[in-house]
């Protein structure tokens, strides 16, 4: 398609504006984390790493980071196992209601986080509390797993649909038992999809706040919850900027890697 000169210039401007709107605030956060001044004063009064040092000293922050990592790893592990198994069931076997099961699996990603959060909260209250299991890391992991399963499922199912089942048949034909076929033929074919799904799942869990609010007990604080808590506190502004700067890197990396690995749309 040929565009007129004006149209081209307008398009470029729009693109630049769009990117600026998205990335300027992020840049601002990065700059502020090195700002010598205490308030978010602009222009920055000087370069300083004191907020980075302060953030490092913050014990609440370190605990929150550890909780987030544990929750992310836990939710990812659960999602890997269940999402992969569901993907196999949905692509390799025919059963009654297969389409509906696929749909129901993907649904949580579309549900508003607040709905998932309230529902899980009520469910945990009625099921887990009588059993003596309180709100805490475990409930957060379960809550995050509901949407982490989706990304693993989608990545793996898309890959499984693309690889020809005849390779698995050839493996069985050559004498490989079901597990050998999975290990030597299927797994290598889906490995990068698994990794991509895991990275995305972890990234999703790591910055989740809504579902976490409803599933974490009072004693459990993930990194996003800590940020939310400290944002309004006096003197903590620059430290929050430091954390945000770190999170930008931590969040972008897995998504970038996942995209490189899967070569497919993210969800």
């Amino acid at each position: 398609m040929q565009l007129s000169r004006t149209a081209r210039i307008l398009l470029r401007l729009a693109t630049a504006l769009g990117l600026a709107v998205i990335y300027a605030p992020l840049l601002l956060v990065l700059v502020n984390s090195f700002n010598a001044s205490r308030s978010f004063a602009w222009p920055p009064s000087g370069f300083s790493t004191r907020w980075w040092a302060a953030a490092w000293q913050e014990t609440g922050l370190r605990a929150a980071l550890a909780t987030s990592l544990k929750a992310g790893l836990g939710a990812t592990a659960v999602a890997l196992v269940l999402g992969t198994m569901a993907a196999f069931a949905a692509t390799r076997y025919r059963f009654y209601g297969r389409q509906s099961v696929s749909f129901l699996l993907i649904l949580p990603i579309a549900l508003p986080g607040i709905v998932t959060g309230i529902a899980l909260n009520a469910a945990f209250r009625t099921v887990l509390t009588p059993l003596g299991v309180g709100f805490g890391l475990f409930t957060v992991v379960v809550g995050h797993a509901t949407f982490c399963i989706v990304v693993v499922f989608n990545n793996v199912a898309a890959r499984l649909r693309r690889i020809a089942p005849s390779a698995e048949e050839a493996s069985a034909d050559l004498g490989a038992h079901t597990f050998q076929t999975f290990w030597y033929v299927t797994l290598p074919a889906v490995r990068s999809a698994l990794l991509a799904g895991a990275l995305l799942a972890f990234a999703l869990s790591f910055d989740e706040i809504v579902v976490t609010t409803f599933t974490a007990g009072p004693g459990t604080q993930t990194l996003p919850l800590w940020i939310f808590d400290n944002l309004a506190r006096p003197n903590q502004g620059p430290v929050v900027d430091v954390v945000a700067a770190v999170l930008i890197v931590l969040a972008v990396l897995p998504v970038y890697l996942a995209q490189r690995l899967s070569g497919e749309p993210l969800r």
Binding site: E169, A170, S171, A172, D173, Q180
Partner: protein
Amino acid sequence: MTRSPSPRPPTPGAVALSGVSKAFGAVRAVDGIDLEVRPGEFFSMLGPSGSGKTTVLRMIAGFEAPSAGRVLLGGIDVTRLAAFDRDVNTVFQDYALFPHLSVRQNIEYGLKVKRVPRAERAERAAEALATVRLHSFGDRRPAELSGGQRQRVALARALVNRPSVLLLDEPLGALDLKLRQEMQLELKQIQREAGITFVLVTHDQDEALTMSDRIAVFNAGRIEQVGTPAEVYERPATAFVAGFVGTSNLLQGPCAVQVFGESGTYSVRPEKIRVAHPDDPTGPDEHAVTGTIGEVVYAGAQTRFLVDLEAGGQLVAVRQNFEESGADAARHRGSAVLLAWQRQHTVRINP
């Protein structure tokens, strides 16, 4: 499950199917097939697209469970056995090579999963590579091979396991004519040397006629005829076989009554027919019929005459071009001719 032991034949068939059917929902892909493939035989299953050949092959390999009937390998009932417990190997139509493994690893795969020691594995893989003349290709990935080379790898990957039966599903389908003909001879030679029973699926009648010891002709999930290439070609049992293997050339209705003095369906192969002048004499042991040449097709080595018979119907006659060339052939169009052939070449077809 208990079954009364079936009386064992003296030498059990390499593959035997008894009353095998397969239905996919409402589709009866295979409809009550009985078949016995002898040990060491090159056996072909020939039939048009959708006639159930692949389905039969998949039931022998163990990828598909029959809806009814039994599958026997070497006289042993394997109907309920999984693919990995059957002593057969398959060369798939799309080759189904493992894309992430090298050619050598592909070939060693069957030995590896059966825990054959590494040294023996390497030795047998090298041997198999040599058999298919791919010595120097061991380290390549399947994606780096041509179609013909992939086909050979698929063959080597199956042969290296020394199965008692090798199943081949249109293994040459993706190759060009020249390569296909080369591979036909090569396959035949490998089969003879290895002494393995081959079961080949094809829809190419020339391929089946060239390579097979025996052919089963499939139509709509059933077997129409089983026989040697000569039997199937010279004495087709049904009108379908006459039409599918070669040119059909059927004589029926009033024309049949006039020529043979009896109603029915008869077939005669085009190359058996002598195209003569209407006034030429015919021998006592010949059948003859008159007609007009409707079309002349020059095909290099031969000329084909499409003759409209006076008594109705049409016959195709083929003549080797000893002297004639394309330019001469056309002028026969419209002339009256006599078609004559030896009585022994008339085949009566079961209705």
